[in-house]
């Protein structure tokens, strides 16, 4: 696995910061945001501009956006972390699927030449670059389902393996919408927090004083592999992807279905697909955006799925620390869920100082919690009604 985010440039740093309950939200430096209503975001640290040079050759880097470079770094870290040597594998059975809403070829992108404009804009560029890097010959493609994109990528990778189309799938997501135009757009939709000071306190999922999501950015990549293949090469296994639920709400381009009906349907579908019962779930990594509607409806959806047990299931939102990484969120939060199971540590929901009386679940406020976990859900719900729930199981 590999992560690049506002909380660090590698997996270990991200995990330790998440466990410590640190926020990656700061004042925007990528452009002059002084005229924007929202002036904060979860930017990847500027040290990344030097860091990526250890991973990507200069010429290839010039043909990539900053976000694509993040994806490449996370992918190469994930490949190394998994101990993969593709020269020893059947490359026709190695695939790449990347969830991406946009490549970040925005007004903050620097040094774009006319020749590089196309490469930087291609939404398939990340999967293509990864396949090129390792000369992989299996299917390589991008998926866009808004904020659920990389959760869909994981589901799609799961299917490739289950249908015997691949042994190994590099699955991930990368995104950034930290630019003047998109922040103005989301402000116009009243979707973003405007609590600019202090930045680290703005993302407060499930709190009474939440006022919108905070934009994050970054990349997350997971190596999905068939059990048989992983055993054959002696790979370390962090967790099992036990199943997923996907659905479309057919309801509204922005708002989730009333009372979280679509969300609960998706969670139930995932639980059923994994062949388990709701009683077996002992943690939910929530979509938890810090918007009025998502947090209210996700809470109602969890209550609908878990009934009287809902208040006993820990639910936390990684977005309280990372902000919303959009197309990358599904994979980054998938990784956090996997590490939570692996280490037996639930990362917290920070900034929950003023609980919303209507949202009365166990949101693991402020500090992380040690707890043995066996099965966990990771929720992702995107604009347009694209819903995904992933089920991870201890291996």
């Amino acid at each position: 696995m590999g992560i690049v985010s506002s909380l660090g440039l590698d997996l270990e740093t991200n995990w330790s910061n998440l466990v410590a309950g640190r926020s990656g939200i700061r004042s925007i430096t990528l452009f002059d945001a002084s005229e924007n209503q929202t002036r904060i975001a979860g930017e990847v640290p500027s040290a990344f501009e030097e860091h990526y040079r250890n991973y990507i050759k200069k010429r290839a880097a010039s043909q990539m956006t900053r976000v694509t470079r993040m994806c490449m770094v996370a992918a190469k870290d994930a490949v190394n972390h998994a101990g993969l040597d593709f020269d020893q594998l059947d490359k026709t059975r190695c695939s790449v699927i990347i969830g991406v809403v946009n490549t970040g070829n925005s007004s903050v992108e620097k040094d774009t030449t006319p020749q590089n404009t196309v490469f930087k804009s291609m939404s398939n560029s990340m999967s293509a670059w990864i396949s090129l890097e390792y000369q992989l010959l299996g299917p390589s493609y991008a998926i866009n389902t808004a904020c659920a994109s990389s959760a869909y990528a994981l589901a799609s990778g799961f299917d490739l393996i289950r249908n015997n189309q691949a042994d190994v799938v590099i699955v991930g997501g990368a995104d950034s919408i930290i630019n003047k135009e998109e922040i103005e757009g989301f402000n116009a939709l009243y979707a973003l927090s405007v609590q600019n000071d202090p930045p680290e306190k703005a993302s407060k999922p499930f709190a009474a004083d939440r006022d919108g999501f905070v934009i994050g950015e970054g990349a997350g990549v997971i190596i999905l592999e068939s059990e048989k293949h992983a055993h054959k090469r002696g790979a370390g296994i962090y967790a099992e992807l036990a199943g997923y639920g996907l659905s479309s709400e057919g309801y509204n381009i922005m708002a989730p279905m009333k009372d979280g009906e679509g969300m609960s349907f998706t969670m139930k579908k995932a639980i059923r697909a994994a062949g388990i019962s709701a009683e077996e779930i002992d943690y939910i990594n929530a979509h938890g955006t810090s918007t009025e509607l998502n947090d209210r409806y996700e809470t109602l959806a969890i209550k609908r799925v878990f009934g009287a047990r809902a208040k006993k299931v820990p639910v936390s939102s990684s977005k309280s620390m990372l902000g919303h990484t959009i197309g990358a969120a599904g994979t980054i939060e998938g990784i956090i869920t996997i590490l939570s199971i692996y280490h037996g540590i639930i990362t917290p929901t920070i900034n929950l100082f003023h609980p919303d009386p209507d949202l009365d679940l166990d949101f693991v406020p402020h500090t992380s919690r040690k707890q043995a976990l066996h099965v966990a859900l990771s929720n992702s719900f995107g604009f347009g009604g694209h819903n995904a729930t992933l089920v991870f199981r201890k291996y």
Partner: protein, 101 residues
């Protein structure tokens, strides 16, 4: 048709070598006429186009990319030496390069 001077080939070679050294992050000393652009340098086809643009400006050439494209399809370039040879033909014959076939 441009006039080829005695030192033109030397100039072209120097530009080509330095271009690949810079773009592919390898020392000039590791490049030779036998170096394979894709396999040895991890180069790409866009580099060829960028070099043509450089030589178009340097020698004020009257050449269209589609003409070069048609020629290159029949005369694929793999090594640095082959690329220099083609650049020399482009400089010498410009848009008439197709008449060489």
């Amino acid at each position: 048709m441009a006039q080829i001077m005695e030192n033109t080939r030397y100039e072209v070679k120097e530009v080509v070598y330095e271009f690949f050294a810079e773009e592919c992050e390898v020392p000039v000393s590791e490049i030779s006429d036998q170096t394979n652009i894709i396999k040895d340098l991890d180069g790409d086809s866009l580099m060829f186009l960028e070099l043509i643009e450089i030589f178009k400006k340097k020698y004020s050439l009257d050449i269209e990319l589609k003409t070069i494209g048609k020629y290159a399809v029949k005369h694929p370039v793999e090594t640095i030496g082959q690329l220099i040879d083609m650049q020399m033909l482009i400089i010498e014959h410009e848009n008439d390069i197709l008449e060489l076939d």
